[in-house]
Subunit: 201 residues, 2 copies
């Protein structure tokens, strides 16, 4: 198909497609003349992926670049691969915070502490610190409940990782991480409304 | 205490405190002369709250205004109060999307469909649409698992709503919604790392 059809098919404006081509986010089409090229389903899929990542995913173009690289050139071990994918969509921790509290929690939960990959520990320490700073105390047992529920969520998700293709695995983790977050958070809010109606309605 | 002490106590710069005072986000201190005023623990608490909302909470000043208004002038029914609090921190849905799929899911889950408050439905419809747009299929049963886990999370949270004071209830919902989101999402990522290490490590 020509670039105009590619645009119609994906809802991405021609000027934006040209920008992505120049930036190397979308592979070149097959040249049919000096000014024309043909595109195929691979281009459609790639554009839909980029649109999902920059739109609801909320990723910057630099992060999209990193994600697409991990998809195009995946590392060998699936665990490393998942680490790259998760790292690409990680929010940078804003402050230096003490991980001691997080490591103590992880020990209590029986989670292994991998010191190579402390960035999520920093993120959790920071999130807990923000609760403290706001003078917000979680209800008794809430943190352990959160951990249990998220372990159940992760178990379903990791069981679903496709293992036949590295690219498919990375795509699954990156999209599953970024795109499922709004699903989870919205379900939490809807569940709160339901629980509030049951208790106070 | 004087404004300089208030600044030291809360880590908020004097110029920022003066801005919040002008904007009416923080109540005036008790005037002791034409150029000086005294502040107390109420001001410390209010500044810590604002700092948590604009910082890790990521709220705009306009939203902080709405949240503080709900805290200062709470509605009568606790269920309405929780609705105001949740609405103040709601992400606006970006597109008009069909709620039919969401209402069908809610019926399956036995959740009441309150047509007065469809904004979370729009948010879920949009989040699911984003998965479709990206060509991402959730693993079999994942959505029901997400709903179950989030219902368990919400049950703990709503059980913890303080009912003795409206201001405390609103504060709990607003902060609990905004500040707990990063906790939940980070726990999910840590749980994924743990599950991945167990399966592939």
């Amino acid at each position: 198909m020509r670039i105009s059809e590619l645009s119609r098919e994906t809802g991405v404006p021609v000027a934006t497609i040209k920008f992505y081509l120049r930036e190397g986010l979308v592979p070149e089409g097959r040249r049919t003349s000096a000014t024309q090229a043909q595109y195929d389903e691979e281009h459609v899929a790639r554009l839909r992926l980029i649109r999902a990542l920059v739109g609801p995913g909320g990723l910057s173009l630099a992060l999209v670049h990193g994600v697409l690289e991990a998809i195009d050139q995946p590392p060998e071990s699936i665990h490393d691969l998942l680490g790259v994918a998760a790292g690409a969509v990680e929010r940078p921790a804003g402050r230096l915070v003490d991980h001691t509290r997080v490591h103590a929690l992880m020990e209590r939960w029986g989670w292994r502490i991998d010191n190579k990959d402390c960035s999520t520990h920093a993120a959790l320490a920071e999130a807990l610190q923000a609760l403290d700073d706001a003078g917000f105390e979680l209800p008794e047992g809430a943190l352990d409940a959160y951990q249990q529920q998220m372990a159940a969520v992760a178990a379903v998700e990791i069981a679903g990782v496709p293992t036949d293709s590295a690219a498919a695995a990375v795509r699954y983790v990156v999209l599953g991480t970024v795109l499922v977050e709004p699903v989870l958070l919205t379900l939490r809010r809807m569940a709160q409304q339901e629980a509030s109606a049951q208790r106070f309605g």
